[in-house]
Symmetry: C2
Subunit: 408 residues, 2 copies
């Protein structure tokens, strides 16, 4: 299979070093490929950790263990395996993760529950323990690598490496954020097939960091979809090393809390957008903005109904301002909607208002808009003040090409 | 656009004449095409009617009016317009339907509420009233046509005409059933983009007929999906002319009720399967059987999550027994499931049992099965006694071809 670089790709940004974070990646050999596929991130003592995970009822052992480990609030290491998701592998999968955790904990001299593991790739094949053992041993000895190298090492079918950065001022102190993410298929609401990690040197108490990540996730990773499919391994973790010299931020009322949250959310949003930009076969990046819904949550669900509709996504792929299909997707969402107060537009031009096509609707500027790479669909329900924006990509032949012969 | 006949098509069956039903179809000219696109079915006085409709919040005027008309329980006529769905057209759409109803009621000498109308095709363009008026006038004068001609006239992007028949014995009396259906895209749970009509000469009280149709629909039309998209116009109507000579069936306990229901459901199932067989771009017919769920309804929802997953559907298109994607789809369904009691098989061969791949799993017979046109996926949740079967088709390049340039 030829995985050509997505036309919506973005160059990898310059990301700041984060004090207290050391990246290493090596080739463990989970697949017969010539690339790094095991990443070990070492975190300084006292690093706070937060996480959000897939809602799948069939989550992997990595996800199960990650959820359990979060309770103690600190992390010393993260291991990411690429090429094998270790999902649906029963006790053998669990044992493989426990082995990695034990080996890293011994190597770094930390508690096992401070070692977080993620795996991505084929489902149903237990992670080979000998490959993992040799890989971890090599990673513990390896020289540090760059953000871009780590971002490449965690990828699977990604066609480009993905990273995002931000900074924030806390009083006189500047704190830095760097994030990497992988994922290009099985991307869905309630997270994506996706492993995402954000690192900062800010000092944030674990409970607050968890709250911030959950909020940021709700407006970013949980608002993207490629195909409506949700993986068994989806994970986003945030790590705050606390090496920046400012008083610890413990509550939303503390100085700097808003700035830290804004930076965290901006990194999450950019990473989420990059995942959509690498959606399998994507040729267009689509933002669906819903307003006038009965609540923000209702707006998000209607947005996702539109963004997940194969008929809407193929229409955009074909450059067709097919607002009838948007009506259909609103109607099937199962959310409060009133046909006669519904308005729909593309690229800032209303095609229908209050339940009827506009008599003077000029399709020319809309057709031009749909020739571009960045598409906006606007829906107003005329019912309330609820609003949300979700992001997706179009559905093209490339999606079929990739998924009809990849054993994921 | 080249709409070639689906490779899964079935020949149109020999259908019995139904006493009390007269079919007529004419070319009204809703589109610039050379084919009949307006069908008028005349029903003898005393015909009982039952219906189920789309759950879309943006349903068409036809659907709104149909729901209202059902209350009185009898029908004298059905009009089906092809090429224009008249959906999302506000008061102008409603007026067009009212005009048709009035014209037919006058022509046949019946009450307006006994005239049912369906329309299918482009959304957002009011049904042209002059075209409809001339078409209805012509239909009232036209010579009767066959089931196959009527089935062709109600179609839009269908690549083959679809019909099904059955018969039942009520004591010594044989009753006949004939059904036609259209639909090939926007097919989804809670009905399909689909207009389906079943006619019988049995004598069934309207309230019981409604109950029978609702039950039959739940196990047939509501268990098919092509793309998870639900139209604003979905309608299934059942008409019982009562011309057969047997005592009226008024309750489930009456003689013949079970036989009538079985025949009705068998026609509905065959029509539903034919819709899937004409799924846009379909190359394989897929039955997903779910057992061991907490309830039948939970089983159906899990089945639909699998049947709607683009990753599962593309895997089948590629002949890939990718049970990992089935695990994913079970996990995302939001229904009770336990990874460690889950079993998955293809074509009667288990690939995974109790949460783990089978050690001695032989993929050879499965790979052979997936080369065929009729695919079975079996999932056992190991939790309870709930079971359901849903039907879908694979997701291929043909779907993209058709939907990236059809203005529906």
């Amino acid at each position: 299979m030829d995985l050509t670089r997505s036309p919506l790709a973005r160059p990898f940004p310059d990301l700041p070093a984060i004090a207290g974070v050391t990246l290493r990646s090596v080739r463990a050999g989970y697949k017969a490929w010539d690339r790094a596929d095991l990443t070990l991130v070492e975190l300084v003592e006292g690093t706070a950790v937060a996480g959000v995970f897939t809602k799948s009822a069939c989550a992997s052992s990595e996800v199960e263990m990650g959820r359990e480990q979060l309770h103690q609030g600190t992390a010393r290491a993260l291991v990411v395996n690429a090429g094998n998701s270790n999902a649906f592998t029963g006790y053998r999968g669990r044992e493989a993760v426990e082995q990695i955790v034990a080996q890293v904990a011994e190597g770094l001299g930390c508690a096992p529950e401070q070692v977080f593991v993620s795996s991505t790739g084929v489902i149903g094949v237990p992670l080979p323990r000998d490959v993992a053992r040799a890989g971890v041993a090599a990673a513990l000895e390896a020289a540090p690598c760059s953000w871009e190298q780590a971002a490449a090492a965690i990828g699977t079918t990604d066609t480009f490496t993905k990273g995002a950065g931000a900074s924030a001022m806390i009083g006189e102190t500047r704190v830095e954020f760097a994030g990497i993410v992988k994922g290009s298929g099985m991307i869905a609401p309630d997270m994506a097939t996706m492993l995402g990690y954000v690192f900062t040197d800010a000092r944030v108490a674990p409970a607050l960091l968890q709250d911030m990540l959950a909020r940021a996730n709700a407006a970013t990773f949980s608002c993207i979809t490629v195909d409506g499919d949700t993986s068994t391994s989806d994970t986003v973790l945030a790590f705050a090393t606390g090496r920046a010299e400012h008083p610890e931020i413990r509550s939303w009322d503390d100085s700097g809390a808003d700035a830290v949250f804004a930076a965290l959310q901006s990194v999450c949003r950019e990473l989420a957008h990059l995942v959509v930009r690498d959606g399998e076969g994507a040729r267009k990046f689509i933002a669906v903005s819903v307003s006038g819904a009965q609540s923000d949550d209702s707006a998000r669900r209607i947005g996702l109904s539109i963004a997940n509709s194969p008929l809407v996504k193929t229409a955009i792929a074909g450059g067709d301002a097919n607002w009838g299909r948007v009506v259909m997707a609103v109607g099937k969402a199962g959310e409060p909607a009133d046909r006669d107060s519904l308005s729909i537009g593309f690229g800032g031009v209303w095609a229908a208002r209050d339940g009827q096509p506009l008599a003077d609707y000029d399709e020319t500027p809309v057709a031009r808009h749909l020739q571009g790479e960045e598409i906006t669909i606007k829906v107003d329900l005329g019912l309330g003040a609820g609003r949300a924006t979700v992001w997706t990509c179009d559905l093209t032949h490339g999606y079929i090409d990739i998924n009809a012969d990849y054993r994921s």
